[in-house]
Amino acid sequence: MSAVAAKPAAGGAMNPTAMGVGIVMLLILLGICWYVAPGLGLMALIGIIIGGVLIGFGTHFVPVGGAPAAMGQAPGIATGVAMLAAGAGLAGLFGGAWAAEQGTVIAVVTGGVGGGLMMAITCMMVNFVYVFGMGIPAASGKVKADPITGDTQAEYKSQGTEGHGLPFVSFVGGVVGGILGGAGGTLIYLMLLDLYKVTLPTMMSATEAQIMPIAVSAAGMFAVGMFLVNAVLTAYNITGTIEGPHDPKFKRWPRSVVASAVASALCGIVAILIVVI
């Protein structure tokens, strides 16, 4: 079979059996956690799963253009899904980690603001480069009119391209995606940090102040690891480029939510086992 004749396998189709298996796996992992670490461990795992799902869902909002966008032939930011998700999430994670001592809600909101701010700056500078550097207007190729502003797109779209630049709806999508991703990454970090702060002192027979560097470093490392796993799984779900919430590919999000939930539960339980056994 040649590359031309092949049809893309990762279409919008759902695989109900696999989704069912995924949900069963999620329940099994939750059950294992309830068995080995009820209470604090289970609460942490639920927080981690929510964080992972936020990352997986949020990434669908981000306008990803890939290599075609770098040549002005597709709308979006000119890099891959995994890189953008990691950038937004890690920016949020660093922002949220600063506020970790002020309580979960403030820290998660701070993380969301950090991620959203990073995406807002990225989207604005990308449009600056497109408009003033490459001399192309922003136009979507997937919809006739911008769903938010109502501006028509077809007049501005160059022939032979899928659109170019960042239309307003993609900009908003990018910021929303950054907020969700940053909040999710921070939530994972906070859940693990709270768990390690309580359990590590007894495990290593040291005071809380002494083990703080280890708790912060291990929680941060696990959060980065889970973030990258979730970001890459979402990238596999999107396969290539997406314009934002108005793109037809956005409808694939249920698959990603199931995959992110199972992956986060799996990684989360490993991270919890380190202080239990």
Binding site: A3, I214, L228
Partner: protein
């Protein structure tokens, strides 16, 4: 896409590279246990050799996976390798002497489930997906464990979290001066992540040759090992760190020269251009 764009033509088959990667990494990781048996830290450099072996295997796995158009770029494969590898590796360090074996088994479990998720739930339907993600998780775990051994001389949780500082001649235990507590693991993560994703990204295309890509991987691995060996001065004795640094520099120079020769061999033409000459009279 279900179409495989490139095929492995000639060269060493993938299963052979995989078997060699597993065996060499495991043997090197266990050789570093000589540290504990002899009471020195001289054998830490075996961790760096385990890193290079695992990276060579991993870059070939990335080649197998990314030959199918996965549409997300080659770096994403390196990122998921280390994302899942660091999780398996950190838990495995709790098992003392069995840590490398436990990391191997645990990474296989994590990789299998992630492979199932991407192939079935996310509907990727790529034949090599499950096996590749499993292999990549093991590669990530081995690479990080190798860096841990190289930098701190040990692969146990206690060894990675406890260091000592000397104040006025007295040695005090400190959790901050350690591989995990000092967040050296984050640097090791990115050093490995770049080294694993770069070779195929740099060598892909119609002119791809297996030996050139693998030589570039070894070169990237030794380059990362130089940086890690410099960091190891903070945690292990100066003499031991110096041994690691010398091994890394010798390995890097050799592989760099070899890679240069292979690039010349594969190039269409080679012009030994001189630098821009200084104009006379200035």
């Amino acid at each position: 896409m279900t179409v495989k764009v490139e095929v492995v033509e000639g060269g060493v088959p993938h299963t052979k590279i995989m078997a060699a990667g597993i065996i060499v990494s495991l043997v090197c990781l266990y050789l570093s246990y000589l540290n504990t048996m002899t009471g020195t830290e001289m054998f830490s450099f075996f961790g760096g050799l385990a890193v290079v072996a695992a990276l060579i295997w991993g870059s070939h796995t990335i080649k197998v996976l990314c030959s199918y158009g996965i549409g997300t770029g080659v770096p994403s494969a390196g990122m998921i390798a280390f994302g899942s590898g660091v999780i398996a590796m950190l838990l495995a360090t709790k098992f003392g002497l069995a840590a490398p074996i436990v990391a191997f088994v645990l990474a296989i479990v994590v990789g299998l489930i992630l492979g199932y998720l991407s192939n079935e739930v996310l509907n990727m339907k790529i034949p090599a997906m499950v096996q590749s993600l499993t292999e990549l998780a093991v590669v990530g775990a081995f690479t990080l464990m190798g860096f841990a051994v190289l930098i701190s001389g040990s692969f146990t949780f206690t060894g990675l979290t406890t260091g000592s500082i000397t104040i006025l001649g007295a040695s005090l235990p400190s959790y901050q001066v350690s591989f995990i507590g000092g967040s050296l693991i984050a640097v090791a993560f990115m050093l490995g992540g770049i080294a694993i994703q770069h070779p195929f990204n740099a060598c892909l295309g119609p002119g791809w040759t297996q030996d050139r890509m693998l030589m570039l991987t070894a070169e990237c691995g030794f380059l990362s090992m130089i940086v890690a060996a410099v960091m190891s001065f903070a945690l292990i004795t100066t003499g031991s760190a110096l041994i690691s640094l010398i091994v890394a520099i010798i390995g890097w120079i050799y592989t760099y020269k070899q890679y240069f020769a292979l690039s010349k061999r594969d190039a269409a033409d080679w012009l030994d251009a001189k630098p821009i000459p200084d104009l006379e009279g200035h």
